[in-house]
Amino acid sequence: MIQLHAVSKSYQRGDLPVPVLKKISLHIKKGEFVAIMGPSGSGKSTLLNILGCLDAADSGMYKLAGKTIQTANEDELAKIRNRKIGFVFQSFNLIPRIDAEHNVELPMVYAGVPPAIRKKRALAALNILGLADRVSHVPAHLSGGQQQRVAIARAIVNDPEIIIADEPTGALDSQTSHEIMRIFLQLQASGKTIVMVTHEEEIGAYAQRIIRVRDGEIFNVPL
């Protein structure tokens, strides 16, 4: 499903380029649940953003679901993000002005789904996540766990193959974190490929496989 070969990325700091990812290669199979772990600043988010087609690598090769990403243009990337990838963020990233249902509808708006079908599917997704009675709440009127569940509903509503989650439990208490992880396990059971960044070993333990990153390189031995 995901094939990364010798992907590098550096940021410009002043005049010098600072390498953040150094020739990273990795392979994630369809249906896998992978956790990326490592110290702060090691490049986890940078890697995940590249995997999620939100950012482009400087060099290297990236194939996602058979498609070559490094040569895709802006609109092709937007379409891949829309159809193939669902995002879950640490800070939920819901649009504050609009209610849960309309947040969940957004990926379908950009997919060109007619309003009536959008509404039906958004309500169904929210229902699955136990938010049937919260559909017309704006994010500010929802708890952190509820907001993250709205975000997960939004991530899965276009039925993507991959879920990309950057510290999905980073802003949640431990009980809620475990609830979210149980949802992730269900998603995996339904056939989704999940790539998640986390700091917490406890959360990483839900994954089948842990990829450890340090200084922009993969270390598969725990430190």
């Binding site: 953003n49 999620g52 939100l54 950012d55 802006e74 609109d75 937007a78 379409k79 993000r81 829309n82 159809r83 995002f87 963020f89 990233n93 819901l94 649009i95 002005r97 609009i98 309309h102 957004l106 990926p107 708006v109 950009y110 997919a111 060109g112 789904v113 007619p114 309003p115 959008r118 939004r154 276009n158």
Partner: protein, 415 residues
């Protein structure tokens, strides 16, 4: 429009309203700028259209197809200047109809050089504008007779001592709303019987423009034959004619002068006048009014547009994260562009519609204060809305373009 676009427009409209609420003060200021600009556009449109209507109404009191031919008196040629007479006589009238195909009607006008002609009824005196005319005079001048009747051919042929008077003459000699018919009017030792009263004519705007200082409502019309008899001459001072259509006035003038030149063997030189010059003057004037107004309108629209650009730029910065989210969820560059363009257009159209409504009220106000019913220029109203859409799109373009160009990863990282 497909389902995607229509639902996007719906979403965008709600979002626009919401984000505008968040930036209330800036929004109100920008809307006001557009409102004032569009209001100015409306007022300019209403005033220029309304004034145009009035000016044309007033010009029409001469008959827009009217034309005048008279002898050029101040001639440089010493042999010609000594010639007597006006260069137009009664015999000319007989032939003009048959030779000048572009002339619909013609009337002789006889007047004297005397400035103050005084008439009297009982003990009351008044100054009048005395004109000796033919049967088609009222027709050509778009005059209507409100009381009594017009001249008949026999009045002219038999030199009857009858007169048609302007309303001011009636009011001054007989009192307002009185019936002066069959009453008599003393002109020197001639006793004229009043057979008709001319309807009031308005030349307020034209007289304010200084184009005409002669009071149309103080006319006294008598058969030109009678006037000629009193003056002891067969001269016709001016031929006033009506062309078959406005476009044929030049042709009618050419035909008339050609005829007169031939008939009088080029002994005289003629001056011709038509309404064209006046129409041009009026249109120049209107163009100047519109120009000044439109400059003012443009300035306020520009200020309003800058205001919109400013709120939209701020809005783009404040919503950087939202743009990142939308892009992560699959928004194309053009979706973001469209969203922000629509938002700025919503602001601008709100301003535009308010400006239009305000402009209509100001127009009514001006009508009320000036006493001229200017009406509403719906053409300008439609134009105003189009202009506000254009201002919204133009001023929203740069911020929208910046929003659309944000990279998703950068936008998402923005705090």
């Amino acid at each position: 429009m497909n389902a995607f676009q229509s639902s996007l427009i719906h979403d965008v409209f709600l979002q626009a309203i919401a984000s505008l609420k968040e930036n209330r003060l800036r929004t109100i200021l920008s809307i006001m700028g557009i409102t004032i600009g569009i209001c100015a556009v409306m007022v300019v449109g209403t005033v220029s259209q309304g004034v145009k209507k009035y000016i044309y109404q007033e010009l029409d009191t001469y008959g827009l197809e009217s034309l005048w031919v008279y002898r050029k008196w101040e001639n440089q040629d010493p042999f010609r200047s000594v010639r007597e007479g006006s260069g137009i006589d009664n015999d000319d009238l007989k032939y003009i109809r048959s030779c000048c195909s572009s002339v619909k009607n013609v009337t002789p006008v006889v007047f004297s050089d005397e400035n103050d002609i005084t008439m009297r009824s009982k003990g009351t005196y008044t100054n009048v504008n005395l004109e000796g005319v033919g049967v088609h005079y009222a027709d050509i001048n778009n005059d209507t007779i409100t009381q009594g009747r017009d001249f008949r051919l026999e009045d002219i042929q038999r030199r009857k001592a009858v007169a048609i008077i302007g309303t001011k003459i009636r009011d001054e000699l007989f009192g307002p709303h009185s019936n002066p018919l069959r009453k008599s009017l003393r002109w020197g030792n001639v006793r004229l019987t009043i057979i008709g009263v001319l309807d009031v004519k308005n030349r307020d705007i034209l007289s304010q423009l200084g184009t005409d200082d002669y009071d149309v409502n103080k006319r006294v019309l008598i058969p030109y034959t009678l006037y000629q008899q009193q003056l002891g001459s067969k001269d016709i001072h001016t031929l006033q004619a009506e062309a078959v259509s406005i476009n044929e006035t030049e042709k009618a003038l050419d035909q008339l002068t050609e005829y007169l030149n031939r008939r009088h063997s080029f002994h005289y030189e003629y001056v011709t006048e038509s309404m064209e010059g006046w129409i041009t003057t009026a249109e120049d004037l209107l163009r100047n009014i519109s120009f000044v107004g439109l400059i003012a309108a443009l300035i306020s629209l520009f200020v309003g547009g800058m205001g919109i650009m400013n709120i939209m730029s701020t809005s783009v910065v404040e919503r950087t994260r939202e743009i990142g989210i939308r892009k992560a969820l699959g928004a194309y560059r053009r979706d973001i562009l469209l969203q922000f363009l629509l938002e700025s257009t919503v602001v601008s159209v709100i301003g535009g519609v308010l400006g239009m409504v305000l402009g209509i009220f100001v127009g009514f106000g001006i009508s009320y204060l000036s006493g001229y019913d200017l009406g509403i220029s719906w053409f300008t109203a439609a134009l105003a809305v189009l202009v506000s859409i254009a201002v919204g799109m133009i001023s929203g373009y740069y911020p929208a373009y910046r929003a659309a160009s944000l990279k998703p990863v950068d936008a998402l990282r923005y705090e």
